[in-house]
């Protein structure tokens, strides 16, 4: 039986950059294909060619056995190809209902048919087992997990034959991801072809039938998930052995550098207490919405603190501004680097040195030469791939951007690093580098608070893990005394919480 979709030897270049050098893949009806590869491997470019955003330079695409050249997104959509991008594309001020039918509003003699619109939206949401979503609420006010469901619902309304999902679970908790998988399986059973792009190999194993691996713009391997071995796949992705993605770097813990007692923000967090020692890596797990990001922000002074005590290096200092925290040697890497953490239009050098321009200035004026020198040194140390320290950071891949964002904390010589989901949305190679970096910082006596929703990495690199549930941080234990199931239970609130 001919597969529904066949892409053969697709090539695409942007000027001198060869993004795709001959990629082939195929997906059948009622199949979920995992498309795996590092950032920069060409997955997004390939999918953009398929969905009509780019025209390929060479190669063929066949849909249902017939040649298919999607010249623009509309044409691709008419062919039954729907793409759900990693960066959500909802209209935040419109309601969920309006977003779901956006572009295909039902009309009656030229006027908007509200009843039909509601029916369409409800039907799509029911399909996803999400009938309880508040369809009148503005989409921008809902949590990211819900927004994603809305995007998928929007795609469903158009009855796709091929559905492409680009990193759909990077902002979802395990529970939401499970719901998503149920939906995908349902679509698969109805005959939809699904291309599932993800870094989370365990998910691909659970969900997908076959996989294709891309590396540096080429397809380097395919196979069935059942027969594949994870380390084999990783090797295909990276082109080298990635042993021990979680490096165990022995280090000793020193004196407490951060003491937090009953910290509470305006609404979240409700009560956070913990001690952080020099050289310690403290992981904070919890569901999306538990208050982990809010805790870090309150600690750092970006959000108001209602009550509580914060001692940094022994000095009582609750409620200080970000500037003062930076002076104390505390740095924050926020969850969403594009919205808060990077100046996308500015150069690498400007981004990296922004919090400490002193060392790159001469006589009160910023020295471009010094800045470039320091930045290039950090780029080498952190293995940041770019055209030079002057390049606009918005042009770099996600992994490289994140490395520069962390680099800013390092250039600042922060001794306490608050990292909020530092490895979200970046490729395996960069993740491994960041884990190694965090290990090295701990060995050097720096302290790290590591918020993450990815349990394997928390257990892999943290010394201690605490779980936040409904605004309360409790249950601080050494990492060896936790299992993933126990963390999940504590996060959902089903485990007896020990008193803080």
């Amino acid at each position: 039986m001919t597969p529904r979709l066949v892409m053969r030897n697709v090539k695409k270049s942007f000027g001198a950059t060869r993004a795709l050098c001959g990629v082939s893949l195929e997906v059948g009806a009622g199949e979920v294909l995992a498309l795996i590869g590092e950032n920069g491997a060409g997955k997004s470019t390939l999918m953009k060619v398929l969905s009509g955003a780019y025209l390929p330079d060479a190669g063929t695409i066949e849909l249902n056995g017939r040649a298919f050249v999607p010249g623009d997104p509309l044409h691709a959509r008419q062919g039954g190809i729907e793409m759900i991008y990693q960066e959500l594309t909802l209209a935040p001020h419109l309601s969920i209902e309006e977003n779901i039918v956006l572009g295909g509003e039902p009309t009656r003699w030229g006027w908007l048919d509200r009843k039909k619109r509601r029916a369409m939206a409800k039907a799509a949401l029911d399909e996803l087992d999400q009938g309880s979503l508040p369809v009148d609420a503005p989409a921008g006010s809902r949590p990211i997990a819900e927004q994603q469901i809305v995007e998928i619902a929007r795609a469903l309304v158009r009855q796709p034959k091929v559905l492409i999902l680009d990193e759909p679970t990077s902002s979802l908790t395990k529970r939401d991801a499970e719901s998503l998988f149920r939906v995908i399986r349902r679509l698969r059973d109805r005959g939809v072809s699904v291309i599932y792009i993800s870094h989370f190999l365990e998910e691909c194993q659970a969900l997908c039938g076959r996989f294709t691996v891309l590396r540096d713009g080429e397809s380097v391997g395919s196979g069935t998930m059942a027969e594949a071995d994870l380390s084999q796949i990783i090797r295909m992705m990276v082109g080298r052995e990635v042993k021990d993605i979680y490096p165990r770097m022995p280090h000793t813990l020193g004196e407490p550098v951060l003491n937090v007692r009953r910290l509470a923000g305006r609404t979240k967090p409700a009560s956070v207490s913990f001690d952080l020692r020099a050289g310690e890596i403290l992981g904070i797990a919890g569901l999306v919405g538990a208050g982990r990001t809010e805790s870090l922000r309150a600690l750092f002074g970006l959000d108001d603190t209602r009550i509580g005590s914060v001692k940094v290096f022994g000095a009582e200092s609750v409620g200080l501004s970000p500037r003062r925290r930076l002076e104390q040697g505390v740095g924050l890497l926020s969850e969403d680097r594009k919205a808060e953490g990077l100046l996308l239009g500015r150069s690498l050098a400007d981004n990296l040195t922004l919090t400490r321009l002193g060392p790159v200035s001469r006589m009160g004026l910023v020295s471009d030469r010094l800045q470039a020198e320091k930045t290039t040194a950090w780029m080498k140390r952190l293995d940041v791939r770019a055209q030079g320290s002057e390049q606009a950071i918005g042009e770099l891949s996600g992994g490289n951007q994140q490395k520069v964002a962390i680099g800013r904390l390092l250039h600042h010589e922060a001794r306490i690093l608050l990292l909020d989901e530092p490895t979200r949305g970046i490729d395996v190679g960069s993740k491994a580098q960041i884990y190694r970096l965090i290990g090295e910082l701990a060995v050097a006596g720096k302290s790290i608070v590591f918020v993450s929703s990815y349990l394997p990495e928390l257990l892999g690199i943290c010394d201690t893990v605490a779980v936040m549930c409904r605004g309360v941080l409790a249950d601080l234990r050494p990492a060896e005394r936790w299992t993933e199931q126990e963390i999940m239970a504590a996060a959902i609130g089903q485990a007896p919480a020990t008193q803080p």
Partner: protein, 324 residues
């Protein structure tokens, strides 16, 4: 493409525009003998001073992501203030100081409301525009204020009209300040913070930049420049006229935008703004020489602004497609 080279070409864009516009007027047989003379260029430069000095302040504001619509009113107000001070026998140095400080004060108030109440700069400065214009008319009693001859008239006085030199002091002042501000914006920490604010305010806050304080400082500093513009306006007319400079803010904003700044903040340069100011003065001057009626000039300048910015966006857009 090497990012340094890309930046160089971006900076050259407005310059090519300027040369192109000069070229057009020079091409006409009738106009050339009057247009391409030293004396005429002296006039062009002098006529650029007020917009250029205003653009020095406005560039800071726009790069930081804000806007100030009250400039025209501030120029009128400070020019009337200067006239009144001279009329009352205040010594010229004090007149300069007080005028500048008044501009700075109004800017400080703008900045404080914008930062303190987190209001949109457009709205706040729109309101201030009305308030200050009214205050100017009130101070001048709805008429022009005519002080006797005084040293400040020399700032914008045109002597030896047939030759390029000597240029009025105002031109040299503008040039010197432009050089200083270019350095400030590009190379000082303060300048980097301005770019950071305009590029992403949330990131700036995360990096410990005191956002509210910076904004007030930026609007106040720009206000000093607007006060200086007012002083130059007074010198050019040798009188304080409360109805002058209506719409000046739009000329100044146009100069900054032609020079490459984006109204959403994060990009811009002093050099670009100066070229933008020159381009508009050349357009006006050349059109006058060609005998074009003023309404025609307005149409042309409007088209040029859209073209200049449109071309720039198109060029940037193409650059983005290249990197995919």
């Amino acid at each position: 493409m090497n990012p340094r080279i890309v930046r160089l070409f971006s900076a050259l864009g407005p310059l090519f525009g300027l040369l192109f516009v000069i070229g057009i007027f020079s091409a006409s047989e009738e106009v050339r003998p009057y247009f391409l003379t030293g004396g005429n260029f002296k006039i062009i430069l002098t006529q650029t001073v007020i917009v250029a000095i205003g653009a020095l302040g406005m560039t800071l504001i726009i790069v930081s992501g804000g806007i100030d619509l009250s400039v025209g009113s501030v120029v009128a107000f400070t020019s009337v203030l200067a006239a009144k001070l001279v009329l009352n026998g205040v010594n010229p140095v004090m007149v300069v100081v007080i005028t500048l400080l008044m501009g700075g004060l109004i800017g400080c108030i703008n900045g404080s409301i914008i930062a303190g109440f987190r209001m949109m700069p457009f709205i706040v400065t729109l309101g201030m525009m009305g308030v200050v214009r009214g205050a100017a008319k009130w101070m001048g009693n709805n008429q022009t204020v005519n002080p006797p001859k005084n040293p400040l008239n020399a700032l914008m006085a045109l002597t030896k009209p047939q030759e390029l030199y000597p240029l009025p002091i105002g031109v040299w002042v503008a040039a010197a300040l432009a050089a200083i501000m270019a350095l400030v914006l590009r190379q000082t920490v303060f300048g980097r913070y301005i770019f950071a604010l305009g590029s992403n305010e949330a990131t700036a806050r995360l990096c410990g930049i005191r956002v509210a304080q910076q904004k007030i400082l930026i609007y106040a500093l720009a206000g000093l420049y607007f006060g200086l513009s007012g002083l130059m306006q007074f010198s050019r007319l040798t009188q304080g006229d409360p109805s002058v400079a209506v719409g000046l803010e739009l000329d100044i904003i146009a100069a900054v935008v032609i020079g490459g700044a984006s109204l959403s903040g994060g990009t811009g340069s002093i050099l670009g703004s100066m070229i933008g100011a020159l381009m508009m003065a050349v357009l006006r001057n050349g059109s006058n020489q060609m005998g074009m009626p003023t309404y025609m000039q307005e149409i042309i300048i409007g088209i040029v602004i859209v073209l200049a910015v449109g071309l720039d966006k198109w060029r940037q857009f193409r650059g983005v497609r290249q990197t995919g």
